[in-house]
Amino acid sequence: MKEVKVYERPKSWMPDVFSHYCPGCGHGIAHRLVCEVIDELGIQEKTIGVAPVGCAALMYNYMDIDFCEAAHGRAPATATGLKRVRPDRVVFTYQGDGDLASIGMAEIVHAANRNENITVVFINNAIYGMTGGQMAPTTLIGQKATTCPLGRDAKVNGYPLRVCELLSSLASPGFISRVTVAQPKYIIKTKQAIKKAFQNQIDGKGFSLVEVLSSCPTNWGLRPVEAFDWTLSSMMPYYPLGVFKDFE
């Protein structure tokens, strides 16, 4: 019987390492998709990642590419420095919602507004994961978090930020897309969006951001399967999937 290989680790995934992510967390899927895209585009040796502060701060342990740490929220500025000095390299940031949409709002808006030729993978799980489940700028109205124990109240905490919609309002060109890793059919589309976001940079088009609706079963207090169900049932209605802006 002929053997058909149906699974192998991406070449750009560090050999023999296991991630620290909780069971059911979307980071593992998103990391793998980034690695698959890097492999398929043949850019492993010319890609520079910029790691955020948050659960993905240690992502450089899992990818066999050059990596730079960024301070909390500053990844787009750090990526700007890298890309301006090495325009021949492929530079991406990978940031969570607290990192990108709260403390790093200035950096992401201005990188987008400069049409900085970088790729941003933005993981939105509506909570601060690493610090233990505090309210994020993307926490939904009514959603409980350790700093809004009765649920987010718009009168007290304001409204959850829609990053794709906000960045799409800029006059600058760009590729802005929202996807999710909550179901296999969406994962395929997520990979396509990430690949396009990297290809745009290689083609010199400019700023590309892919927002990935993800999960945090640990801090949401849900089982892994329930967590992705909640992504679909609660997050997707407020954060609709789609392409918000494109270069064409």
Binding site: Q44, E45, K46, I48, V50, A51, A57, L58, Y60, D64, I65, D66, F67, C68, E69, A70, A71, R74, A77, T78, A79, T80, G81, L82, K83, R84, V85, R86, D88, R89, A106, E107, V109, H110, R114
Partner: protein, 352 residues
């Protein structure tokens, strides 16, 4: 290049370009705006990049990313802007990334004023950001020295993979003086391809990652010990100081930057009147040239520290002299500067 009359800020900018700095990231703040203006006009001409960042916070993190490639990058700012950069400065120190930062100091605290000051001495030499780190800090006192030290700052930052700061003040930024600026491309500096991001092919597929995060306490302690070893080598090799007529002195003035320039006039005047006054002028304020004070004569009546602040270098002078001599202070702050006469009077008070 022959001597040309240049404004301090523009001389610093041109010196950086002549030292091979092609990448500048900055945010406007008085009194150093001519540096980003000069860079924005000249860097594109030589295939470089100028980015006006959205804030000093972003500017220093662009410097972090640019410096992570190993190429020569810089930013310049003034006091409140440097406070905002302190986060990036400690990350750069922890990640061992070479970078050059110029602080054209203005009055503080807070928004303070836009006039010259030296009130960031402690911030520059003792920290500013969090954690156990130091940066090399060079304090020029003439515009020619500002040119030379700016170029040296790039060499030192690459030699030690450390942030090097040029600590100037608003006078040096705004005054004009004749300077010579030469192309500066020294040999023998470490190979950036062994660690710089973007050189994975040159390393034969071996990746590099630059970070300050060490979650294991054993690893972080080891990292800190390695940083301290590096700082010890810098302390040993890079102390710079000018000493003038200290051998027979009754009074020694210790000052740096523009204040040292004013103090030099006071010293010369008093010498011509027969008073034995000398000067110790630190050029590196970190590492501090403590051993320069070993040459003090036993008969010395006192040391006068003169600064444009409320007395920030006194502690270093007391450490250097092991409190064996009376140390007094004369300073002006808030954008005021000590006059030659005021310094002369303070010296005469010590002589008695």
């Amino acid at each position: 290049m022959t001597r040309v009359l240049m404004k301090g800020t523009e001389a610093i900018a041109e010196a950086a370009i002549q030292a091979g700095c092609k990448y500048f990231f900055g945010y406007p703040i008085t009194p150093q705006n001519e540096i980003p203006e000069y860079m924005s006009a000249h860097l594109p001409e030589i295939g470089g990049q100028f980015v006006q960042a959205e804030s000093e916070v972003a500017a220093i993190n662009m410097v972090l990313g640019g410096g992570a490639t190993g190429f020569r990058v810089m930013t310049t700012s003034s006091s409140p802007g440097i406070s905002l950069m302190s986060e990036g400065i400690t990350y750069i120190a922890g990640s061992e990334i070479p970078a050059v930062v110029v602080n054209v100091m203005r009055g503080g605290p807070g928004l303070g004023s836009i006039l010259p000051s030296q009130a960031d001495y402690l911030q520059a030499t003792k920290g500013g950001g969090n954690g156990d780190y130091n940066t090399i800090v060079l304090a020029p006192s003439t515009l020619q020295e500002a040119v030379d030290l700016t170029q040296l700052a790039f060499d030192l930052s690459q030699k030690y993979r450390t942030l090097t700061m040029v600590l100037a003040d608003g006078f040096m930024g705004q005054m004009m003086e004749a300077v010579e600026i030469h192309p500066h491309h020294p040999e023998g500096l470490p190979d950036i391809t062994t660690w710089g991001l973007g050189f994975m092919p040159e390393r034969g597929g071996k990746r590099s990652h630059l970070k300050s995060l060490y979650l294991s306490p054993e690893e972080l302690e080891e990292h800190n010990k390695n940083l301290q070893k590096k700082y010890a080598i810098i302390r040993e090799n890079e102390r710079r100081c000018e000493t003038v007529m200290v051998e027979d002195a009754d009074v020694i003035i210790s000052a740096y930057g523009t204040t040292a320039r004013i103090a030099r006039s006071a010293m010369t005047n008093l010498r011509s009147r027969g008073y034995k006054v000398g000067m110790i002028r630190p050029i590196t304020v970190w590492p501090y040239p403590y051993s320069a004070f070993d040459a003090i004569p036993k008969t010395l009546k006192g040391i006068l520290v003169v600064e444009m602040n409320c007395g920030q270098m006194i502690d270093d002078v007391k450490i250097a002299t092991k409190c064996a001599y009376p140390v007094s202070f004369y300073g002006r702050s808030g954008g005021m500067s000590p006059s030659v006469k005021e310094i002369e009077d303070a010296c005469l008070k010590i002589i008695g």
